[in-house]
Homo-oligomer: 365 residues x 4
Amino acid sequence: MSTSHSVKIAVLGASGYTGGELLRLIAAHPQMELVVATADKSVGASLPSLFPSLASVLPGLTLESVDIESIIKRADAVFLALPHTKSLASVAAFLKAGKHVVDLSADYRLKNAAEYERWYDTPHTHQDLLKEAVYGLPELYRQDIQKTKLVASPGCYPTAAILQLAPLIAGGLVDPRSIVIDAKSGVSGAGRSPALTYHFPEAHESLEAYKIGQHRHIPEIEQELRLLGSRSGQNVKTASRNDPTIHVMFTPHLVPMNRGILSTAYCRLQEPMEQAQLRALYRDFYKGERFIRFAEGDASPNPRHVRGANFCDLNVFLDQRAGWVVTVAALDNLIKGAAGQALQAMNLMLGFPEEMGLTGAGVFP
Amino acid sequence: MSTSHSVKIAVLGASGYTGGELLRLIAAHPQMELVVATADKSVGASLPSLFPSLASVLPGLTLESVDIESIIKRADAVFLALPHTKSLASVAAFLKAGKHVVDLSADYRLKNAAEYERWYDTPHTHQDLLKEAVYGLPELYRQDIQKTKLVASPGCYPTAAILQLAPLIAGGLVDPRSIVIDAKSGVSGAGRSPALTYHFPEAHESLEAYKIGQHRHIPEIEQELRLLGSRSGQNVKTASRNDPTIHVMFTPHLVPMNRGILSTAYCRLQEPMEQAQLRALYRDFYKGERFIRFAEGDASPNPRHVRGANFCDLNVFLDQRAGWVVTVAALDNLIKGAAGQALQAMNLMLGFPEEMGLTGAGVFP
Amino acid sequence: MSTSHSVKIAVLGASGYTGGELLRLIAAHPQMELVVATADKSVGASLPSLFPSLASVLPGLTLESVDIESIIKRADAVFLALPHTKSLASVAAFLKAGKHVVDLSADYRLKNAAEYERWYDTPHTHQDLLKEAVYGLPELYRQDIQKTKLVASPGCYPTAAILQLAPLIAGGLVDPRSIVIDAKSGVSGAGRSPALTYHFPEAHESLEAYKIGQHRHIPEIEQELRLLGSRSGQNVKTASRNDPTIHVMFTPHLVPMNRGILSTAYCRLQEPMEQAQLRALYRDFYKGERFIRFAEGDASPNPRHVRGANFCDLNVFLDQRAGWVVTVAALDNLIKGAAGQALQAMNLMLGFPEEMGLTGAGVFP
Amino acid sequence: MSTSHSVKIAVLGASGYTGGELLRLIAAHPQMELVVATADKSVGASLPSLFPSLASVLPGLTLESVDIESIIKRADAVFLALPHTKSLASVAAFLKAGKHVVDLSADYRLKNAAEYERWYDTPHTHQDLLKEAVYGLPELYRQDIQKTKLVASPGCYPTAAILQLAPLIAGGLVDPRSIVIDAKSGVSGAGRSPALTYHFPEAHESLEAYKIGQHRHIPEIEQELRLLGSRSGQNVKTASRNDPTIHVMFTPHLVPMNRGILSTAYCRLQEPMEQAQLRALYRDFYKGERFIRFAEGDASPNPRHVRGANFCDLNVFLDQRAGWVVTVAALDNLIKGAAGQALQAMNLMLGFPEEMGLTGAGVFP
């Protein structure tokens, strides 16, 4: 499981679903060794008592509380899978100590601290670090990730939304006020804390929208789409007197399955395109990307094909009759939407092959 | 179960899920008596052998093949739950014999026979009856239904889509090219015939879009929204040089649950409105409607609250930031989306109270 | 919903799943009117805020705290759906005031107070009432229920286990130490309080045994089977030196579905029987019972056929090769296993037809 | 994916769920290279068209029909995941050509050809090979597997049942007529061919027993338990006049989940034991076994902890009150119950470390 050349890894927030997937992926990684796992509410518990699935797979660690100094001494690199606002100070301390850090919270994702404060209702205490933080989408920021020590790993919904819209936005092809993202998530996306909404008999045979137009993932989707759009000069081309900026109508839904996101995004084109052009645009944009796959023909991506795997499956459709482009993205919210993408970025930061420990296929059915 | 005053009922296509729900509802209806049930592939089988849930609840009928003459002799009113194109001739025969008919197929829903032929790839052999057929949405066509003998009962998706958009469209408030309907259905919506897509291990922990922009329910949604719009004079008000007509971008999804539709519809307003105005508009439009309910506050409707019941639950949201109205509708695809709505229309045709046999609450959880 | 002749009903503990089903059934009952609903944690809330499925179906009540005196003034009959040990005193007060009471907790089910105290870890404060309390299984105690004012409604597992074994035990046909009951329940059986075990991602794609040989439903199963056995003289016939008494090996399992119990019971016969004899024994024993149905041929009962309905579906099998009888029972844990059975008993106590308000078929699929 | 030292692998019957899992495991195996995949009904199709989850993970093979001579030329070792009776001749041909063969059908599992013919209704055409075939349960037959070229890989139910009972049976501790096995399987155990029973709306919110006492896995369970019992001299010790042989009462159930078996086995002991003794017996028996794990304390094993992994999780309980031992086993029917166990055996035959390619943890949740 570990060798003398392994990088020593700490996982903060190891008791949730994302934490558990980080542990599973690290256990299978040929160059990483788990040395610290923290979980405030489960200090002293063995890892298998929280994750019987990991019994006999992981070293015999017990969960610790967060002790930054101790972790700095023992670990070379750190994953933080803590609730939003809880990473702000820890990240700074680890960076100061020279560690490689992947933060899976939202704390360093938004470049604009005021946006952070508006959506997360809390002041951003370490704004100086925002310029160092790289948004951890390797398909868009591979070289930046290789050079930084702080990756702000994207949320699960934004990973799907940005990847599915990037080729169109980067091409300056979209009416910036026409974007509707209707996203559907399995229940693990809501975390591991029991609540009535996620109580089995409430969530099974159940389906609902929530936080319509108000989900905290909206600002990072818009930030990244605007950046893509501005690179392409889109906002200039499409400027109108009223508001040239990309806004997205984003509605998440809770779907009765454990894992997976299916994101259906709709937009209107500035100029007509053919279906074949659209598909070619997407294939070119993601050429050589190991973790982006295209569904065959008119097939819809489906989270069942990426369960436990780091892929984002895409397809793009043209409804000429109604005048819309539809893109569909599927990913595993805990892998490409969380732990897998974080590991992908850590591999890049540490100089390992990007796909190391992430090559497994999805578990189907 | 039956009295001497009961109306004698025939159900054609009784072996599918919609047929089964018709049987269940008729069994509980105080003024209806089931006298004929047909199912081509199950002739001679007892009803409980197809639906053990109905054992001891229904009379001891066996399934028959369709014999129009015999049915005309025995039944006063007929429900047809046959595949599309299979009702064309039978409906005509029953009407000629003076029966009350509710057809649950698409065969008499579209007023424009050319549209039917385009979407269903078959000639419409009884176009003369299209003017008699009333689209069986009692909330919009109550008086017409009371006067006709032929009701074309709406599809499950259109019921949700039309009811959730009607107040806005009838008010002439919507940009007619901005409508996106992202609908999600439980698997019973696909019928009772086994196929790989609906095989449990494929459909469970699974989620996908299908027939994007190509689903056969699109033309009836557009027909009804355009009729609502034209009544309101909307198309005049909103006419542009290019195309004044309402088009909808409609994408259905298959969700891992047995029953239920959740339909999330997006549109842009012609003029700004406030959230409170929007809600008032909806409440006024559906005032007195027994089977339309509004979710409390910002809650999303959810099919879990209408399972087995004839309600359509609605809510409407305004995303002022992004400039969209979002409406969410939930219904049971087999009840308000099929058997219940058909019974509601039959009640109206027969002069019974509209809600007779349909007053039960949903089975939760 | 109510008439001047209606019996006024109070439901204590109305916010849980059993409480919700009581409300739903009472709303549809032609001779009952809900006048009080209590829920300690939701005082002041409207019923639809807890059960949106019941919106517009129930009268506009708000939830109250339990005020015995006030309830006595307003209600004629009381259902108590409170946690175990919480009904002891209230039941006594309602009885004293002359009310008809159905208690759905375990508090008055065990005839032997010492057994109650052993399994429930609490003294039984009202042992004098145990002789008045009738175990509310109408198929076994119909006449007693008609004469009493206190019914102790059975647990969900015992209803299945007792009904599936009664014909064999009453016939004195079973080796009393050979009984194994392997029961499987949907998650609603665990109640509506969130906990990690019932958190959707933990309970979905999940299956486990629990409380093996230690479940609190064991003593009532054994009490009733022993009573059945003693009536038949079985214990005399089968007496051995060591222990003539019936003991059951009972293992419950948690299954990823909302509702339903499937109970598979195994036993060895004292003397060989034929399959046909077995089936005849069962059909005779339950002759005329409206809520007992037999699956056709070799079909297994399945909770999907009784969802929302008051039936207990049974079948019995003989494995001559291995020497065992297997009986399979399916019921809806919230209906025949709780609210429906309670209403069935209340109907009997109040002199209504036993099946009033309970004639609906199950909602399938 | 492959190196010059890789063993070239053929998979026959690659289009089903077990075939798909073989492909996934082989893709991740450091010393195996997939060179042939057959599927009669999908000849010419690409692997990703059948398993989109495997897109970009597997080499660009297309599915072939079975051509024994061609396969012999190209492959070094063969997995057969064909329906029962379809492997008989092919296995013989591959063996004659010197290949290593793991047959996942029942064709070579039963030592007694007459038993095979009785349970599978077909003559056994290659009885001479039965003595070469090793029952592929490495925990019981490790050394035999290392020496043979033909492994008959066990069924999913028998793997659980045999592993959970082996320590007791091998110790001669069990009343041989007291064994009841109540097994529960996810729907993928029924294969990938659509049928009404496995149609999503029928199988979801559904639970039933099937083939009670008649399942074809019974004879291999009894064969292996008897062999274990005879080694221990149990049958002598426990002989009675009537029938000394182990018979099992085996009832499988279909549970609404994709994957996983939970097997609950009941038996009575010949002599009393303590809980601690029992647990020690199990831990000793499986000491050093990498793929056998014990649940902590009184926890039940649960298939959710082994999803996609090769573990069989066990626990054993004593109900002194009722006089029974209960053992609970959980495994993934497609991994330890099929593809993983087959690979484990192939590793042994080929001289690789037994766990190669099988060390991943389960995917939770």
